[in-house]
């Protein structure tokens, strides 16, 4: 992966000027590369990683991982039905996977009832959805490579040879 992406993936606030210094490039060149990444959709958006365990958010108190079994459609396979599912705003992630079921869907809601209702009334009723298994999330430890707790403090002594 391009080092510019590596840097931004780690800290999206790093400015083009700073990246230019780190990689010994011209700031204009870095800006242009970033612009291209944005245009091509390599960089989709910049956002903060929030430790939701520490924020009581009334809109997303409950999360569930849902295994979905589907009947693939002719010509388009799983894509069309996946699109119908991931377009719901309640769905925060959606993956096609190998194994005993087809889609892994992550659903967020205000509470367990809301998530259950979504599964019962929206997801399960979709044509081509053969069955679902819902796992409610109890606690998050790590998400997208980020460990959800306070940073490890550096225990080095402040000065040494």
């Amino acid at each position: 992966m391009d080092e510019i992406l590596e840097i931004l993936e780690n800290d999206g606030r790093t400015t083009a000027e700073e990246i230019a210094k780190m990689l010994k490039l011209k700031p204009e060149a870095v800006k242009k590369t970033i612009k291209n990444y944005e245009k091509e959709g390599v960089i989709l958006k910049y956002k903060a990683v929030i430790n939701r365990e520490m924020v009581r958010d009334a809109d997303a108190e409950a999360r569930a991982l849902i295994e979905v079994n589907i009947v693939p459609q002719k010509d388009v396979g799983f894509d069309k039905i996946a699109e119908r599912i991931y377009s719901f705003p309640e769905v925060s992630s959606c993956y096609l996977i190998s194994g005993t079921y087809d889609l892994l869907v992550i659903v967020e809601g205000r509470n367990i009832h809301e998530v259950s209702r979504f599964v019962a009334e929206k997801l399960s009723c979709l044509e081509n959805v053969r069955g679902t298994v819902t796992h409610f999330l109890l606690r998050k430890y790590k998400e997208n490579g980020v460990i959800l707790k306070h940073k490890e403090v550096n225990k080095r002594i402040a000065i040494s040879y």
Binding site: T14, M22, L23, N154, R156, A158, I159, S160, Y161
Partner: protein, 388 residues
Amino acid sequence: MKREISGIVEKMKPSGIRAFFDLVLGMKDVISLGVGEPDFVTPWQIREAGITSLEQGFTSYTSNKGLYKLRLSIAQYMKNRYGLVYSPDDEILITVGVSEAKDLAMRTILNPGDKVLVCSPSYVSYGPLVELAGGKPVYIDTRSSGFKLSPKALGKAIDKKTKALILNYPSNPTGVSYIRKELSEINRVLLKRNILCVSDEIYGDLSYDFEHTPFPVLSGAKENCIYLNGFSKSYAMTGWRVGYACGPKDIIAGMTKIHQYTIMCVPITSQMAAAEAIHTGRKSVEEMKREYKRRREFMCDGLTKLRLDYVMPQGAFYFFVSVKNTGMSSLKFAERLLKEEKVALVPGTAFGESFDDYVRISYASSYENLKESLIRIGSFLNRRKGRG
């Protein structure tokens, strides 16, 4: 009554900047650019291997030479990476960091009065270790040649009593390193004059501008060289204290003798973790190296803008910066910067008495800290200018 202790120890100078270190350690909220170790924590899989070894009951001594599987892994690594063949049976010794290995090397090769050449500025322990082993350190000042040892200066420094040269590249405190051609020239002088090379390559994995060349790969050098390396810097394992020496059988046998009586063996937990590091840690090393390199460029830009002079480092994580223009001695500079701006760095005199116009800046620190410290050094310097 004054008790008589060893004359050699009595004569050893205590570090003149101990008091400064204590000052730093006693102060809160200091941004430190004075640290000689990585700011990364040991990669998890390595820590986990240490924990597992404890769970499995690996709590005993190991062979004096070190765990066979670790020596074997090091031998395989040296062969695959550099084409160097060392036998895990009698050409590799696991030591308590490179620090112990250096001590063992000196005590093994020196007779009373033998001289050892040390490039100056240098890491703090070389001179004292030579003295403790009964030898005499001879310092070669490298400042006029960009902190690099020139073959000419080397040739001039050698006399009948010269036994060895201690080479350290990439260097602490300057970060300077050598390309293969430069090393070959040094090697030629050493071979011609029959001088051993003790090569401390602990920062070898952190070489940013060119491939690191281990000294023993040079033509004819292997039988004439004690190669020292360890896990501290590459794998962020300073606290585990694992280093190793690779060298000719007779020397490794000698070092092993001293090691077995003084240390017995390196703690087994650390050896088990090190074995894991060498098998699965390469990816982490490469990631850390890329990150250090970016920080180097970042600091290079910042220091240049502050109009501070330095020789561009090619490795390790240090800048050796001249503070001559400020008119302050290195200790004064460091003390005032600490008191006024709460930024810590190491005065140059730590690395050689005559380097009183330099300070060592370590960039093994987060960008946040690096950015903030550059701002603080900037205002510190500006205030001085205003007065001047």
